[in-house]
Amino acid sequence: MAVETTAAVQPGLSIGFFDTGGFFETYLLPFVIMLGQSVLLLTILLIVVAYILYADRKIFAAVQMRRGPNVVGPWGLLQSFADLIKFVLKEPIIPASANKGVFLLAPLVAGVLALSAWAVVPVGPGLAVADPNLGILFIFAITSLEVYGIIMGGWASNSKYPFLASLRSAAQMVSYEVSIGFVIITVLLCVGSLNLSHIVWSQLDGAGTMLGLPSSFLDWHWLGLFPMFIIFFISAIAETNRPPFDLPEAESELVAGHMVEYSSTPFLLFFLGEFVAITLMCALTTILFLGGWLPPIDVAPFNWVPGVVWFVLKGMAVFFCMAMVRSLVPRYRYDQLMRLGWKVFLPISLAMVFLTALVLQITGWAENRPDPASLAPTASVSSTLHST
Protein backbone atom coordinates (compact mmCIF):
# COMPACT_ATOMS: atom_id res chain seq x y z
CA MET A 1 0.00 0.00 0.00
CA ALA A 2 1.48 3.30 -0.98
CA VAL A 3 -0.21 6.57 -0.31
CA GLU A 4 2.06 8.52 -2.60
CA THR A 5 1.34 12.04 -1.53
CA THR A 6 3.02 15.14 -2.74
CA ALA A 7 3.29 16.44 0.75
CA ALA A 8 4.61 19.85 -0.18
CA VAL A 9 1.15 21.37 -0.40
CA GLN A 10 -0.45 19.85 2.62
CA PRO A 11 -2.67 22.25 4.48
CA GLY A 12 -2.86 20.23 7.65
CA LEU A 13 -4.50 21.71 10.67
CA SER A 14 -2.63 24.95 10.78
CA ILE A 15 -4.87 27.77 9.74
CA GLY A 16 -2.16 30.21 8.89
CA PHE A 17 -2.02 28.37 5.62
CA PHE A 18 -4.74 30.45 4.07
CA ASP A 19 -3.47 33.52 2.36
CA THR A 20 -4.46 35.60 -0.57
CA GLY A 21 -3.75 34.34 -4.05
CA GLY A 22 -5.48 32.73 -6.94
CA PHE A 23 -8.51 30.85 -5.81
CA PHE A 24 -7.56 27.84 -7.85
CA GLU A 25 -3.99 27.42 -6.64
CA THR A 26 -4.71 28.35 -3.06
CA TYR A 27 -7.93 26.55 -2.31
CA LEU A 28 -9.23 24.33 -5.04
CA LEU A 29 -6.10 22.44 -6.00
CA PRO A 30 -5.04 21.48 -2.47
CA PHE A 31 -8.62 20.56 -1.75
CA VAL A 32 -8.78 18.22 -4.72
CA ILE A 33 -5.42 16.72 -3.86
CA MET A 34 -6.45 16.17 -0.28
CA LEU A 35 -9.72 14.66 -1.41
CA GLY A 36 -7.82 12.24 -3.64
CA GLN A 37 -5.47 11.27 -0.82
CA SER A 38 -8.36 10.73 1.52
CA VAL A 39 -10.23 8.53 -0.89
CA LEU A 40 -7.10 6.51 -1.53
CA LEU A 41 -6.46 6.12 2.19
CA LEU A 42 -10.06 5.16 2.78
CA THR A 43 -9.98 2.44 0.13
CA ILE A 44 -6.77 0.98 1.44
CA LEU A 45 -8.07 1.09 4.99
CA LEU A 46 -11.22 -0.77 4.05
CA ILE A 47 -9.22 -3.49 2.34
CA VAL A 48 -6.90 -3.72 5.32
CA VAL A 49 -9.86 -3.96 7.67
CA ALA A 50 -11.37 -6.73 5.59
CA TYR A 51 -8.21 -8.81 5.83
CA ILE A 52 -7.59 -7.98 9.47
CA LEU A 53 -11.04 -9.30 10.18
CA TYR A 54 -10.19 -12.42 8.24
CA ALA A 55 -6.89 -12.77 10.08
CA ASP A 56 -8.63 -12.34 13.40
CA ARG A 57 -11.01 -15.16 12.65
CA LYS A 58 -8.29 -17.39 11.24
CA ILE A 59 -6.05 -16.92 14.28
CA PHE A 60 -8.93 -17.49 16.63
CA ALA A 61 -9.82 -20.63 14.76
CA ALA A 62 -6.24 -21.87 14.64
CA VAL A 63 -5.86 -21.55 18.40
CA GLN A 64 -9.03 -23.59 18.83
CA MET A 65 -7.88 -26.09 16.19
CA ARG A 66 -10.67 -25.18 13.79
CA ARG A 67 -10.30 -24.19 10.19
CA GLY A 68 -12.02 -20.84 10.29
CA PRO A 69 -13.52 -19.19 7.20
CA ASN A 70 -12.61 -21.37 4.26
CA VAL A 71 -15.51 -21.44 1.86
CA VAL A 72 -15.73 -18.09 0.05
CA GLY A 73 -12.81 -17.75 -2.30
CA PRO A 74 -9.50 -19.62 -2.02
CA TRP A 75 -8.84 -20.37 1.70
CA GLY A 76 -11.85 -18.22 2.51
CA LEU A 77 -10.00 -15.06 1.45
CA LEU A 78 -13.15 -13.37 0.23
CA GLN A 79 -15.18 -14.12 3.36
CA SER A 80 -15.13 -10.52 4.60
CA PHE A 81 -16.43 -9.23 1.30
CA ALA A 82 -19.24 -11.75 1.37
CA ASP A 83 -20.13 -10.51 4.85
CA LEU A 84 -20.03 -6.94 3.62
CA ILE A 85 -22.40 -7.63 0.77
CA LYS A 86 -24.69 -9.54 3.09
CA PHE A 87 -24.91 -6.63 5.53
CA VAL A 88 -25.52 -4.04 2.86
CA LEU A 89 -28.24 -6.04 1.16
CA LYS A 90 -30.19 -6.78 4.31
CA GLU A 91 -33.18 -4.68 5.28
CA PRO A 92 -32.33 -2.05 7.88
CA ILE A 93 -34.68 -2.32 10.85
CA ILE A 94 -35.34 0.65 13.07
CA PRO A 95 -37.19 -0.23 16.27
CA ALA A 96 -40.54 1.54 16.55
CA SER A 97 -39.75 3.13 19.90
CA ALA A 98 -36.21 4.13 18.99
CA ASN A 99 -35.12 7.73 18.81
CA LYS A 100 -34.75 7.69 15.07
CA GLY A 101 -32.35 10.56 14.48
CA VAL A 102 -29.86 9.57 17.15
CA PHE A 103 -30.28 5.90 16.27
CA LEU A 104 -29.04 6.52 12.76
CA LEU A 105 -26.49 9.12 13.79
CA ALA A 106 -24.70 6.80 16.23
CA PRO A 107 -23.20 4.33 13.70
CA LEU A 108 -22.20 7.22 11.48
CA VAL A 109 -20.39 8.86 14.37
CA ALA A 110 -18.66 5.61 15.24
CA GLY A 111 -17.55 4.97 11.67
CA VAL A 112 -16.59 8.47 10.63
CA LEU A 113 -14.66 9.31 13.80
CA ALA A 114 -12.57 6.18 13.60
CA LEU A 115 -11.72 6.87 9.98
CA SER A 116 -10.94 10.54 10.51
CA ALA A 117 -8.19 9.81 13.01
CA TRP A 118 -6.26 8.05 10.24
CA ALA A 119 -5.91 11.36 8.43
CA VAL A 120 -2.89 12.33 10.52
CA VAL A 121 -1.15 8.95 10.81
CA PRO A 122 2.15 8.91 8.92
CA VAL A 123 2.65 5.44 7.49
CA GLY A 124 6.04 6.26 6.03
CA PRO A 125 8.44 9.19 5.89
CA GLY A 126 6.14 12.06 4.91
CA LEU A 127 3.30 9.76 3.92
CA ALA A 128 0.22 11.19 5.58
CA VAL A 129 -2.83 13.08 4.46
CA ALA A 130 -1.86 15.73 6.99
CA ASP A 131 1.00 15.91 9.44
CA PRO A 132 0.01 18.64 11.89
CA ASN A 133 2.10 19.82 14.80
CA LEU A 134 -0.36 18.51 17.33
CA GLY A 135 -0.99 15.21 15.58
CA ILE A 136 -0.91 13.02 18.65
CA LEU A 137 -3.30 15.33 20.46
CA PHE A 138 -5.63 15.19 17.47
CA ILE A 139 -5.66 11.41 17.60
CA PHE A 140 -6.20 11.47 21.33
CA ALA A 141 -9.13 13.85 20.90
CA ILE A 142 -10.70 11.67 18.24
CA THR A 143 -10.30 8.47 20.24
CA SER A 144 -11.85 10.18 23.24
CA LEU A 145 -14.89 10.89 21.10
CA GLU A 146 -15.37 7.34 19.93
CA VAL A 147 -17.36 6.61 23.05
CA TYR A 148 -20.18 8.73 21.68
CA GLY A 149 -21.05 6.26 18.98
CA ILE A 150 -21.59 3.58 21.59
CA ILE A 151 -23.37 5.73 24.12
CA MET A 152 -25.71 7.27 21.54
CA GLY A 153 -26.47 3.92 19.96
CA GLY A 154 -27.22 2.35 23.30
CA TRP A 155 -29.52 5.13 24.38
CA ALA A 156 -31.34 5.62 21.10
CA SER A 157 -32.24 1.93 20.83
CA ASN A 158 -34.61 2.49 23.74
CA SER A 159 -34.02 -0.98 25.03
CA LYS A 160 -32.55 -2.35 28.24
CA TYR A 161 -29.55 -4.36 27.14
CA PRO A 162 -28.09 -1.81 24.75
CA PHE A 163 -28.53 0.91 27.33
CA LEU A 164 -26.80 -1.05 30.09
CA ALA A 165 -24.02 -1.97 27.72
CA SER A 166 -23.50 1.59 26.61
CA LEU A 167 -23.26 2.85 30.18
CA ARG A 168 -20.74 0.18 30.96
CA SER A 169 -18.60 0.73 27.97
CA ALA A 170 -18.66 4.49 28.30
CA ALA A 171 -17.27 4.11 31.81
CA GLN A 172 -14.73 1.62 30.53
CA MET A 173 -13.48 3.75 27.67
CA VAL A 174 -13.27 6.92 29.71
CA SER A 175 -11.32 5.06 32.40
CA TYR A 176 -8.71 3.66 30.07
CA GLU A 177 -8.36 6.93 28.21
CA VAL A 178 -6.83 8.36 31.36
CA SER A 179 -3.96 5.91 31.40
CA ILE A 180 -3.54 6.14 27.63
CA GLY A 181 -3.20 9.89 28.06
CA PHE A 182 -0.48 9.47 30.65
CA VAL A 183 1.39 6.93 28.54
CA ILE A 184 1.32 9.33 25.61
CA ILE A 185 2.64 12.06 27.87
CA THR A 186 5.65 9.97 28.89
CA VAL A 187 6.48 9.42 25.23
CA LEU A 188 6.03 13.11 24.50
CA LEU A 189 8.35 13.99 27.37
CA CYS A 190 11.05 11.93 25.71
CA VAL A 191 10.39 13.34 22.25
CA GLY A 192 9.72 16.99 22.90
CA SER A 193 7.19 17.33 20.12
CA LEU A 194 3.57 16.40 19.50
CA ASN A 195 4.15 15.72 15.85
CA LEU A 196 3.77 12.06 14.95
CA SER A 197 6.63 12.08 12.45
CA HIS A 198 8.89 13.67 15.02
CA ILE A 199 7.97 10.91 17.44
CA VAL A 200 9.14 8.34 14.93
CA TRP A 201 12.35 10.19 13.99
CA SER A 202 13.26 10.65 17.63
CA GLN A 203 13.44 6.87 17.94
CA LEU A 204 16.59 6.85 15.84
CA ASP A 205 18.38 7.77 19.04
CA GLY A 206 17.90 6.06 22.37
CA ALA A 207 18.96 3.17 24.53
CA GLY A 208 20.43 1.25 21.59
CA THR A 209 22.74 4.10 20.65
CA MET A 210 24.06 4.19 24.19
CA LEU A 211 24.63 0.43 24.11
CA GLY A 212 26.55 0.70 20.84
CA LEU A 213 23.83 -0.37 18.41
CA PRO A 214 22.82 2.93 16.84
CA SER A 215 19.57 3.18 14.87
CA SER A 216 18.46 -0.27 15.89
CA PHE A 217 15.28 -1.65 17.41
CA LEU A 218 16.83 -1.09 20.84
CA ASP A 219 16.51 2.65 20.22
CA TRP A 220 12.76 2.52 20.05
CA HIS A 221 10.71 3.64 22.97
CA TRP A 222 9.46 0.18 23.89
CA LEU A 223 12.73 -0.46 25.70
CA GLY A 224 13.26 2.89 27.35
CA LEU A 225 9.67 3.12 28.50
CA PHE A 226 9.06 -0.57 28.91
CA PRO A 227 6.23 -0.67 31.48
CA MET A 228 4.43 2.04 29.53
CA PHE A 229 4.54 -0.09 26.38
CA ILE A 230 2.69 -2.91 28.15
CA ILE A 231 0.21 -0.51 29.74
CA PHE A 232 -0.45 1.11 26.39
CA PHE A 233 -0.98 -2.22 24.70
CA ILE A 234 -3.47 -3.40 27.32
CA SER A 235 -5.21 -0.03 27.46
CA ALA A 236 -5.48 -0.04 23.68
CA ILE A 237 -7.25 -3.40 23.87
CA ALA A 238 -9.61 -2.03 26.51
CA GLU A 239 -10.15 1.19 24.63
CA THR A 240 -11.17 -0.65 21.48
CA ASN A 241 -13.41 -3.04 23.42
CA ARG A 242 -11.50 -6.08 22.28
CA PRO A 243 -11.55 -9.30 24.28
CA PRO A 244 -10.75 -9.84 27.14
CA PHE A 245 -12.26 -6.42 27.75
CA ASP A 246 -15.21 -6.76 25.37
CA LEU A 247 -17.78 -6.04 28.06
CA PRO A 248 -19.74 -3.65 25.84
CA GLU A 249 -20.63 -6.63 23.69
CA ALA A 250 -20.52 -9.32 26.33
CA GLU A 251 -22.59 -11.85 24.39
CA SER A 252 -23.08 -13.97 27.46
CA GLU A 253 -24.90 -11.35 29.52
CA LEU A 254 -25.97 -8.49 27.31
CA VAL A 255 -26.77 -10.35 24.08
CA ALA A 256 -24.66 -8.13 21.84
CA GLY A 257 -24.30 -4.97 23.84
CA HIS A 258 -25.04 -1.64 22.28
CA MET A 259 -25.52 -3.20 18.85
CA VAL A 260 -28.45 -5.47 19.72
CA GLU A 261 -31.02 -3.45 17.85
CA TYR A 262 -28.84 -2.68 14.86
CA SER A 263 -28.93 -4.52 11.59
CA SER A 264 -27.80 -4.12 8.03
CA THR A 265 -25.67 -1.09 7.09
CA PRO A 266 -25.83 0.71 10.45
CA PHE A 267 -24.49 -2.44 12.07
CA LEU A 268 -21.81 -2.61 9.42
CA LEU A 269 -20.77 0.93 10.21
CA PHE A 270 -20.40 0.11 13.90
CA PHE A 271 -18.41 -2.94 13.03
CA LEU A 272 -16.26 -1.01 10.63
CA GLY A 273 -15.65 1.74 13.18
CA GLU A 274 -14.55 -0.82 15.71
CA PHE A 275 -12.05 -2.45 13.41
CA VAL A 276 -10.72 0.82 12.07
CA ALA A 277 -10.17 1.88 15.67
CA ILE A 278 -8.25 -1.35 16.21
CA THR A 279 -6.02 -0.69 13.21
CA LEU A 280 -5.52 2.83 14.49
CA MET A 281 -4.41 1.57 17.88
CA CYS A 282 -2.00 -0.86 16.20
CA ALA A 283 -0.60 2.00 14.15
CA LEU A 284 -0.33 4.17 17.23
CA THR A 285 1.53 1.47 19.15
CA THR A 286 3.87 1.18 16.20
CA ILE A 287 4.50 4.91 16.06
CA LEU A 288 4.87 5.50 19.77
CA PHE A 289 6.87 2.46 20.78
CA LEU A 290 8.02 0.42 17.81
CA GLY A 291 9.76 3.03 15.74
CA GLY A 292 7.10 3.55 13.08
CA TRP A 293 8.60 3.00 9.63
CA LEU A 294 12.20 2.67 10.85
CA PRO A 295 13.95 -0.62 10.03
CA PRO A 296 14.88 -2.77 13.03
CA ILE A 297 18.58 -2.68 12.19
CA ASP A 298 20.15 -0.07 10.00
CA VAL A 299 22.16 -2.47 7.78
CA ALA A 300 22.02 -3.40 4.17
CA PRO A 301 19.14 -5.76 3.48
CA PHE A 302 16.88 -4.14 6.03
CA ASN A 303 17.19 -0.51 5.13
CA TRP A 304 16.49 -1.22 1.47
CA VAL A 305 12.95 -2.15 2.33
CA PRO A 306 10.62 0.86 2.08
CA GLY A 307 9.45 2.31 5.39
CA VAL A 308 5.82 1.62 4.61
CA VAL A 309 6.50 -2.09 4.56
CA TRP A 310 8.12 -1.96 7.97
CA PHE A 311 5.22 0.07 9.27
CA VAL A 312 2.66 -2.44 8.01
CA LEU A 313 4.68 -5.38 9.30
CA LYS A 314 4.96 -3.87 12.76
CA GLY A 315 1.29 -2.99 12.82
CA MET A 316 0.43 -6.53 11.81
CA ALA A 317 2.64 -7.92 14.56
CA VAL A 318 0.82 -5.80 17.13
CA PHE A 319 -2.49 -6.98 15.76
CA PHE A 320 -1.33 -10.58 15.93
CA CYS A 321 -0.62 -10.07 19.63
CA MET A 322 -4.08 -8.61 20.10
CA ALA A 323 -5.66 -11.56 18.32
CA MET A 324 -3.66 -13.99 20.44
CA VAL A 325 -4.74 -12.20 23.60
CA ARG A 326 -8.32 -12.48 22.40
CA SER A 327 -8.09 -16.19 21.91
CA LEU A 328 -6.09 -17.01 25.03
CA VAL A 329 -7.36 -14.80 27.87
CA PRO A 330 -10.79 -15.24 29.45
CA ARG A 331 -13.05 -12.21 29.67
CA TYR A 332 -12.57 -9.86 32.63
CA ARG A 333 -15.39 -9.25 35.05
CA TYR A 334 -16.53 -5.61 35.07
CA ASP A 335 -15.26 -4.71 38.56
CA GLN A 336 -11.90 -6.33 37.78
CA LEU A 337 -11.69 -4.25 34.66
CA MET A 338 -12.33 -1.02 36.54
CA ARG A 339 -9.91 -2.02 39.27
CA LEU A 340 -7.20 -2.65 36.73
CA GLY A 341 -7.80 0.70 35.09
CA TRP A 342 -8.05 2.93 38.11
CA LYS A 343 -6.05 1.18 40.79
CA VAL A 344 -3.24 -0.35 38.79
CA PHE A 345 -2.67 1.46 35.51
CA LEU A 346 -3.47 4.97 36.66
CA PRO A 347 -1.01 5.03 39.59
CA ILE A 348 1.71 3.29 37.61
CA SER A 349 1.41 5.55 34.60
CA LEU A 350 1.20 8.65 36.79
CA ALA A 351 4.31 7.57 38.66
CA MET A 352 6.07 6.92 35.36
CA VAL A 353 5.23 10.39 34.08
CA PHE A 354 6.82 11.77 37.21
CA LEU A 355 9.80 9.43 37.00
CA THR A 356 10.40 10.11 33.32
CA ALA A 357 10.30 13.84 33.83
CA LEU A 358 12.65 13.50 36.79
CA VAL A 359 15.15 11.38 34.86
CA LEU A 360 15.04 13.72 31.88
CA GLN A 361 15.60 16.71 34.14
CA ILE A 362 18.40 15.19 36.23
CA THR A 363 20.34 13.71 33.33
CA GLY A 364 19.86 16.81 31.25
CA TRP A 365 18.68 14.75 28.26
CA ALA A 366 15.67 16.98 27.89
CA GLU A 367 17.80 20.06 27.31
CA ASN A 368 20.51 18.47 25.20
CA ARG A 369 18.32 16.40 22.94
CA PRO A 370 18.37 17.41 19.29
CA ASP A 371 15.40 19.07 17.71
CA PRO A 372 13.16 16.15 16.69
CA ALA A 373 12.67 17.63 13.25
CA SER A 374 16.41 17.65 12.60
CA LEU A 375 16.66 13.89 13.14
CA ALA A 376 15.04 13.16 9.79
CA PRO A 377 17.88 11.79 7.69
CA THR A 378 17.23 13.28 4.27
CA ALA A 379 16.66 16.85 3.35
CA SER A 380 13.57 16.16 1.27
CA VAL A 381 11.78 14.46 4.11
CA SER A 382 12.60 17.08 6.69
CA SER A 383 11.39 19.78 4.35
CA THR A 384 8.00 18.12 4.13
CA LEU A 385 7.90 18.00 7.89
CA HIS A 386 8.62 21.67 8.19
CA SER A 387 6.07 22.58 5.61
CA THR A 388 3.29 21.84 8.04
Binding site: L13, S14, I15, V102, N133, L145, I151, W155
Partner: protein
Amino acid sequence: MNVVGLFFYLFSAICVASAFMVIASRNPVHSVLFLILAFFNAAGLFMLMGAEFLALILIVVYVGAVAVLFLFVVMMLDVDFAELRQGVLQYLPIGGVIGIVLLVELVLVLGGLSITPEGADLVVQPIPDMAETSNIQAIGDLLYTKYVFFFQMAGLILLVAMIGAIVLTLSHRSDVKRQNTATQIGRDPATAVTLHDVKPGEGI
Protein backbone atom coordinates in the same frame (compact mmCIF):
# COMPACT_ATOMS: atom_id res chain seq x y z
CA MET B 1 -14.50 37.54 2.10
CA ASN B 2 -11.65 35.11 2.51
CA VAL B 3 -11.96 31.54 3.60
CA VAL B 4 -11.12 32.27 7.22
CA GLY B 5 -14.01 34.70 7.39
CA LEU B 6 -16.27 32.16 5.76
CA PHE B 7 -15.34 29.52 8.28
CA PHE B 8 -15.70 32.00 11.12
CA TYR B 9 -19.28 32.72 10.19
CA LEU B 10 -19.99 29.05 9.59
CA PHE B 11 -18.65 28.00 13.00
CA SER B 12 -20.24 30.86 14.88
CA ALA B 13 -23.60 30.40 13.23
CA ILE B 14 -23.69 26.69 14.04
CA CYS B 15 -22.38 27.41 17.53
CA VAL B 16 -25.10 29.94 18.28
CA ALA B 17 -27.79 27.81 16.69
CA SER B 18 -26.80 24.71 18.63
CA ALA B 19 -26.52 26.76 21.84
CA PHE B 20 -30.08 27.84 21.22
CA MET B 21 -31.12 24.26 20.61
CA VAL B 22 -29.56 23.27 23.94
CA ILE B 23 -32.26 25.22 25.72
CA ALA B 24 -34.97 24.74 23.12
CA SER B 25 -34.94 21.03 22.39
CA ARG B 26 -37.60 18.89 24.05
CA ASN B 27 -35.38 15.98 24.88
CA PRO B 28 -32.62 16.49 27.46
CA VAL B 29 -30.33 14.04 25.69
CA HIS B 30 -30.72 16.04 22.52
CA SER B 31 -29.80 19.11 24.54
CA VAL B 32 -26.54 17.53 25.60
CA LEU B 33 -25.82 16.44 22.06
CA PHE B 34 -26.37 19.98 20.85
CA LEU B 35 -24.09 21.18 23.61
CA ILE B 36 -21.42 18.89 22.22
CA LEU B 37 -21.97 20.37 18.78
CA ALA B 38 -21.57 23.82 20.28
CA PHE B 39 -18.27 22.74 21.88
CA PHE B 40 -17.06 21.47 18.53
CA ASN B 41 -17.77 24.74 16.84
CA ALA B 42 -16.12 26.66 19.64
CA ALA B 43 -13.08 24.44 19.09
CA GLY B 44 -13.27 25.36 15.43
CA LEU B 45 -13.24 29.04 16.35
CA PHE B 46 -10.16 28.47 18.50
CA MET B 47 -8.50 26.83 15.51
CA LEU B 48 -9.26 29.85 13.37
CA MET B 49 -7.52 32.04 15.94
CA GLY B 50 -4.46 29.81 15.78
CA ALA B 51 -4.98 28.34 19.24
CA GLU B 52 -4.81 24.71 18.12
CA PHE B 53 -3.82 23.40 21.50
CA LEU B 54 -6.77 25.01 23.23
CA ALA B 55 -9.08 23.72 20.54
CA LEU B 56 -7.96 20.13 20.91
CA ILE B 57 -7.90 20.30 24.71
CA LEU B 58 -11.42 21.68 24.61
CA ILE B 59 -12.48 18.61 22.70
CA VAL B 60 -10.56 16.17 24.87
CA VAL B 61 -11.69 17.62 28.18
CA TYR B 62 -15.16 18.99 27.56
CA VAL B 63 -16.45 16.72 24.84
CA GLY B 64 -14.46 13.62 25.69
CA ALA B 65 -14.92 13.67 29.45
CA VAL B 66 -17.28 16.28 30.89
CA ALA B 67 -20.06 15.90 28.33
CA VAL B 68 -19.87 12.13 28.66
CA LEU B 69 -20.65 12.48 32.35
CA PHE B 70 -23.45 14.89 31.49
CA LEU B 71 -24.90 12.38 29.07
CA PHE B 72 -24.57 9.68 31.68
CA VAL B 73 -26.56 11.61 34.21
CA VAL B 74 -29.15 12.93 31.80
CA MET B 75 -29.74 9.53 30.25
CA MET B 76 -30.37 7.96 33.60
CA LEU B 77 -32.66 10.70 34.84
CA ASP B 78 -36.30 10.44 34.04
CA VAL B 79 -37.02 14.09 33.50
CA ASP B 80 -40.47 15.12 32.40
CA PHE B 81 -39.58 18.10 30.34
CA ALA B 82 -43.10 18.98 29.34
CA GLU B 83 -43.76 19.71 32.99
CA LEU B 84 -40.56 21.67 33.47
CA ARG B 85 -41.45 23.76 30.50
CA GLN B 86 -44.79 24.91 31.81
CA GLY B 87 -43.44 28.05 33.42
CA VAL B 88 -41.60 29.19 30.32
CA LEU B 89 -44.06 31.86 29.27
CA GLN B 90 -44.34 33.07 32.82
CA TYR B 91 -40.61 33.69 33.13
CA LEU B 92 -40.11 34.80 29.56
CA PRO B 93 -40.39 38.55 30.26
CA ILE B 94 -37.87 38.58 33.10
CA GLY B 95 -35.51 36.31 31.19
CA GLY B 96 -35.84 38.54 28.17
CA VAL B 97 -35.06 41.63 30.21
CA ILE B 98 -31.92 40.03 31.64
CA GLY B 99 -30.88 38.95 28.16
CA ILE B 100 -31.36 42.45 26.80
CA VAL B 101 -29.39 43.95 29.69
CA LEU B 102 -26.50 41.57 29.00
CA LEU B 103 -26.66 42.38 25.30
CA VAL B 104 -26.58 46.12 25.96
CA GLU B 105 -23.62 45.66 28.31
CA LEU B 106 -21.73 43.66 25.70
CA VAL B 107 -22.44 46.27 23.06
CA LEU B 108 -21.28 48.99 25.44
CA VAL B 109 -18.04 47.19 26.23
CA LEU B 110 -17.24 46.49 22.60
CA GLY B 111 -18.43 49.93 21.56
CA GLY B 112 -16.23 51.49 24.23
CA LEU B 113 -13.25 49.58 22.89
CA SER B 114 -13.85 50.77 19.36
CA ILE B 115 -14.61 54.34 20.39
CA THR B 116 -11.67 54.73 22.76
CA PRO B 117 -8.95 52.43 21.47
CA GLU B 118 -6.59 53.55 24.25
CA GLY B 119 -8.74 51.52 26.63
CA ALA B 120 -7.32 48.43 25.01
CA ASP B 121 -3.87 49.40 26.27
CA LEU B 122 -4.99 48.47 29.75
CA VAL B 123 -5.21 44.86 28.69
CA VAL B 124 -2.06 43.06 29.70
CA GLN B 125 -0.48 40.98 26.97
CA PRO B 126 0.73 37.96 28.87
CA ILE B 127 2.21 35.93 26.06
CA PRO B 128 4.77 36.87 23.45
CA ASP B 129 3.88 37.11 19.81
CA MET B 130 2.79 33.80 18.34
CA ALA B 131 5.42 34.13 15.67
CA GLU B 132 8.16 33.69 18.28
CA THR B 133 6.79 30.81 20.24
CA SER B 134 4.44 27.89 19.85
CA ASN B 135 1.03 27.52 21.32
CA ILE B 136 1.99 24.97 23.93
CA GLN B 137 5.16 26.75 24.93
CA ALA B 138 3.29 30.00 25.54
CA ILE B 139 0.67 28.31 27.69
CA GLY B 140 3.31 26.32 29.53
CA ASP B 141 5.38 29.40 30.29
CA LEU B 142 2.37 31.16 31.73
CA LEU B 143 0.90 28.27 33.61
CA TYR B 144 3.99 26.59 35.00
CA THR B 145 6.40 29.46 35.38
CA LYS B 146 4.70 32.80 35.74
CA TYR B 147 1.53 31.65 37.45
CA VAL B 148 2.81 28.47 39.03
CA PHE B 149 1.59 29.62 42.42
CA PHE B 150 -1.97 30.08 41.23
CA PHE B 151 -1.81 26.80 39.38
CA GLN B 152 -0.70 24.89 42.45
CA MET B 153 -3.26 26.62 44.63
CA ALA B 154 -6.01 25.71 42.21
CA GLY B 155 -4.80 22.13 42.40
CA LEU B 156 -4.96 22.18 46.18
CA ILE B 157 -8.47 23.63 46.06
CA LEU B 158 -9.52 20.75 43.85
CA LEU B 159 -7.93 18.39 46.35
CA VAL B 160 -9.98 19.95 49.14
CA ALA B 161 -13.12 19.59 47.04
CA MET B 162 -12.31 15.95 46.46
CA ILE B 163 -11.68 15.30 50.15
CA GLY B 164 -14.95 17.06 50.91
CA ALA B 165 -16.93 14.96 48.47
CA ILE B 166 -15.46 11.78 49.88
CA VAL B 167 -15.90 12.79 53.51
CA LEU B 168 -19.51 13.76 53.02
CA THR B 169 -20.69 10.93 50.81
CA LEU B 170 -18.53 7.82 51.02
CA SER B 171 -19.88 5.29 53.44
CA HIS B 172 -18.23 2.00 54.09
CA ARG B 173 -21.08 -0.44 54.38
CA SER B 174 -20.23 -3.24 56.71
CA ASP B 175 -22.85 -5.70 55.43
CA VAL B 176 -21.29 -6.08 52.00
CA LYS B 177 -18.93 -8.89 51.04
CA ARG B 178 -15.79 -7.48 49.54
CA GLN B 179 -13.09 -9.35 47.74
CA ASN B 180 -9.48 -9.01 48.57
CA THR B 181 -7.57 -9.59 45.39
CA ALA B 182 -4.26 -10.16 47.12
CA THR B 183 -5.58 -12.99 49.26
CA GLN B 184 -7.41 -14.47 46.31
CA ILE B 185 -4.26 -14.59 44.27
CA GLY B 186 -2.22 -15.66 47.26
CA ARG B 187 -4.25 -18.83 47.78
CA ASP B 188 -2.52 -22.00 46.72
CA PRO B 189 -3.71 -25.59 46.50
CA ALA B 190 -1.86 -26.53 49.66
CA THR B 191 -4.10 -24.36 51.82
CA ALA B 192 -7.24 -24.35 49.70
CA VAL B 193 -7.71 -27.99 48.77
CA THR B 194 -7.79 -31.04 50.97
CA LEU B 195 -8.12 -34.54 49.64
CA HIS B 196 -10.28 -36.99 51.49
CA ASP B 197 -10.50 -40.64 50.85
CA VAL B 198 -14.26 -41.03 51.02
CA LYS B 199 -15.65 -44.50 51.38
CA PRO B 200 -18.75 -45.21 49.31
CA GLY B 201 -22.01 -44.44 51.05
CA GLU B 202 -20.49 -42.70 54.05
CA GLY B 203 -19.84 -39.07 53.18
CA ILE B 204 -17.37 -36.88 54.98
